[in-house]
Symmetry: C2
């Protein structure tokens, strides 16, 4: 088994934090995204989607999605559980994973990939025909970011972690999405949102956050 990993980008970070929380060790191959190594024939031959992370299993199966890789390991090694422990919590973790993806991570991706010149013609991540940048999407992404931050901060006034009183995969996804927003120059939400700032400090202080 081999994990194709990459520095800086948010999706590989999701898997690294997850694996650190689970204390799972996997052979890693680091692909240099800044040098475009994910676009070379050698890597496209491994993952036609040109994305990281990707997990190559010993039977040749490729899992080319961060959450799919985490759920694969969760089934292999359930403890400590990070996708919920009873039906209600399992449902809440999934609901928040999907909301964080749609309303926060996608907001950051819209604001970033439609703005930065290096992504001209590649406004979507992955294997696509030429996709032009749409400048109006930068503003849409910023509006989505602001609205999500308000909702998320209010949510965190009521409980310690995203899906309740236990740290779960939803906290990992939210930390990665919010740090991705801060890193790409969206307004830092910690300055005016106390509950979010308290949560962010707590999850960032776990050793896994530096993985």
């Amino acid at each position: 088994m081999k994990l194709y990993d990459g520095a800086w980008a948010p999706s590989p970070r999701r898997v690294r934090i997850y694996l650190a929380e689970k204390r799972i060790y996997v052979e890693r191959v680091v692909i240099d995204l800044k040098q475009g190594e994910h676009l070379t024939p050698a890597f496209v031959g491994i993952n036609p989607q040109r994305q990281l992370p990707a997990l190559l299993l010993d039977d040749g199966t490729l899992l080319d999605d961060s959450l799919a890789i985490c759920r694969y390991f969760e089934a292999l090694q359930p403890d400590p559980p990070l996708f919920g422990t009873d039906p209600r919590e399992i449902g809440l973790v999934e609901a928040w994973l999907r909301r964080i993806e749609h309303d926060c991570f996608q907001a950051v991706a819209l604001a970033f990939r439609n703005r930065v010149p290096a992504f001209a013609g590649r406004a979507l991540s992955g294997q696509w025909p030429r996709i032009e940048q749409i400048p109006d999407l930068v503003e849409r992404g910023r509006s989505m970011w602001s609205a999500f931050i308000e909702l998320f901060d209010a949510h965190l006034t009521r409980q310690s972690y995203v899906a309740g009183e236990a740290f779960t995969m939803a906290d990992i996804a939210a930390l990665v999405a919010i740090d991705f927003g801060i890193d790409t120059r969206l307004p830092d939400p910690r300055e005016r949102h106390a509950a979010l700032a308290r949560w962010h400090a707590a999850v960032s202080s776990r050793p896994s956050a530096a993985a």
Copy 2:
């Protein structure tokens, strides 16, 4: 427990097909989307996200996402399994669920909600500030649809169902997304894609498809 359901829209259909496959019966309340009942104070009081489906549990917890509702029931009643049976299949189902959501369902939603006058100022589903339509996203959505259809048809030349030889939640999500595209006047992919057409006929002929 009570399921808030709605006719026509794709996300409630995902849950109805899932429940039919599992032979799970739940009390339903049908909200009239065409009359805007999901935007009324009565429903917003139940689900501030203004979206369907939503599952209200007996303890007052609301699961406001279609996949979260299905995973809740999957944990309650594992058989027949629809999210995979071993780590590899569990990973593949999740990878395809996420690809179908990002690359197909979102493509259709972009092409639809940025085009139809009824969604002016509400170009995103859910609880948002005013989100203006962006006409260029109609073309982006159409490009994404075409690219996904090519990839999906090629994939289905190699196996019977989306995640392998067993019918899973990934087939339900793909059927709903593709029918949503056809219903909203994207090019019908069955005409020129034989493997996709074979798969579509097989999954559509299951009694659950009419749920």
